[in-house]
């Protein structure tokens, strides 16, 4: 009998997820051993047409990385959803929008206004790319961008979520092991909608730094006090570390290296709005009761939206917003 089919696809993403998968090194051979790779643009030459030709649900497992940024991404999402039994939102872009979803803080018009009028751009006629362009030889088309960045689950039904920017390779390896065990009947799939390849707590759970009862008298920006005390909790040193609200599974890599957690693993289990969890946690431990004093301490977080929604904006309750500043290239 033939091996079950596997697919991995990238939409609006940076390629880091692919690199992370390659970084499981020898393990990649297990995938090859247990699956027929039906579709994996970075690795094999099958094409969208071939996928369309497959019967619905013919692909057992599809790992999707990348957000839904343009019409083409959305089209492919629907196609692979139809063809796959299990569709996994893989990586931060697919699960929560990731950093590129900060673009949701700007109407599309402004993004064009900026990108095609930067100080080094020579664009006297204000040319902007168009979905359809007439050239002497005929018409050229490029997919239109969507009004904002969407997560995979916002356009199609998703079975599992695997966060991380990118997911840590040891977690990818673990998930692949699990799937293989399921194939061999040695394990059960987690319930639909589960978040896989992570811990079930937050980054502090894996962080070796020493912690005390928290009271914050001032927030500092990393360059103001670097290198931080190597033993003590970064938040207690006043560095706005997103660790307390960010799902565990990365082994607290950044805090171990003296850099604050920036939240790439997204919210903990069952959390509706990542940013809200973080802002309520930070605010709760501020050591002040007078509004003026509280405001002074809060000034230590110069970009609250970026701080709290760096990776999660597309999946937040509000999903989008306006930028702090006007674009001012012209």
């Amino acid at each position: 009998m033939s091996k079950p089919k596997f697919a991995m696809y990238w939409s609006g993403s940076c390629g880091g997820c692919e690199i992370a998968v390659l970084n499981i090194h020898e393990k990649i051979l297990d995938v090859d051993a247990h699956f027929e790779v039906a579709f994996w643009p970075v690795a094999v030459d099958a094409k969208a047409k071939d996928v369309e030709a497959l019967p619905d649900g013919d692909i057992l497992l599809t790992l999707w990385n990348g957000s839904i940024r343009n019409e083409e991404n959305e089209h492919m999402a629907h196609l692979l959803r139809r063809k796959s039994q299990l569709l996994v939102a893989f990586g931060s872009c697919a699960t929560e929008g990731c950093i590129p979803a900060l673009a949701n803080l700007s109407p599309l018009r402004e993004i064009f206004e900026t990108a095609y009028h930067t100080i080094s751009t020579d664009n006297p006629q204000s040319i902007h790319p168009q979905p359809r362009t007439a050239v002497p030889e005929g018409e050229l088309t490029i997919p239109a961008l969507k009004d904002r960045v969407y997560t995979l689950a916002q356009v199609v039904d998703v079975d599992y979520y695997m966060p991380g920017c990118p997911p840590e390779s040891h977690q990818i390896a673990a998930v692949i092991d699990l799937v293989i065990q399921v194939l061999e009947g040695k394990a059960q799939l987690p319930p639909k909608g589960s978040v896989i390849g992570t811990g079930n707590s937050t980054v502090c759970d894996e962080c070796p730094r020493q912690r005390n009862v928290k009271t914050i008298k001032a927030f500092h920006r990393i360059q103001e006090i670097a290198p931080p005390d190597p033993q003590l909790c970064l938040l207690e040193q006043g560095i706005p570390c997103n660790g307390p609200a960010t799902r565990s599974g990365c082994d607290a890599r950044c805090p171990r290296a003296g850099a604050q957690c920036i939240g790439c693993y997204g919210p903990a289990e069952g959390v509706l709005d990542y940013g809200a969890r973080l802002m309520t946690a930070f605010a709760s431990v501020i050591d002040a009761t007078e509004p003026q004093e509280i405001e002074r301490i809060l000034d230590g977080i110069p970009d609250p939206v970026g701080q709290f929604y760096r990776f999660n904006l597309a999946d937040s309750l509000l999903k989008a917003g306006a930028p702090a500043f006007k674009s001012n290239h012209r």
Partner: protein, 155 residues
């Protein structure tokens, strides 16, 4: 803004002060604007910013948070936590282009039924002046949701 616009406001109340103030306003038949829909919490310290985000995302035009006066919290000092969260929340909303005035924190003791009613009326008019937020409709309509004019930056 069109005068016909009737804001919808979610109000969070503390079981020990503002919710009782609302009861008092009722028993005393003090009339106030019907635009506010109240939710009872045990303490303003229970107020999770998620609730405010949720209310705004689901179409509320404003959110009123009420609690015991500073120093008079029935749980000793939890209303100060509410105050801190509120001040940070406003900064976040501003950063997302939502007028921070759409969320307001008001202290009202169990005895201040009249004050609560007045605060509600004032807030309703403030929101009416700001106009509809309609976040849910904008998102559904693929329209980029923005509430405030952008801040200019001097370079």
């Amino acid at each position: 803004m069109s005068a016909s616009f009737e804001p919808v406001i979610i109000g969070f109340t503390c079981n020990w002060c503002s919710y009782r103030a609302a009861d008092l306003a009722g028993t005393a038949r003090i009339k106030y604007a019907p635009n506010v829909r109240l939710i009872r919490l045990m303490c303003s310290g229970r107020l999770d910013p998620t609730f405010v985000m949720k209310a705004l995302a689901d179409g509320a035009d404003g959110v009123l948070i009420t609690g015991c006066h500073p120093g008079e919290c029935h749980y000793i000092e939890q209303n100060y936590k509410a105050l801190r969260r509120y001040l940070l929340l406003r900064r976040v909303l501003k950063g997302m282009g939502i007028a921070p005035e759409r969320v307001k924190l008001v202290w009202a003791s169990a005895a201040e039924g009249m004050k609560l009613a007045q605060e509600i009326n004032t807030f309703v008019e403030e929101i009416r002046a700001l106009g509809p937020l309609g976040w849910n409709k904008k998102l559904a309509g693929r329209e980029h949701p923005v509430d405030m004019p952008l801040e200019e930056v001097a370079v």
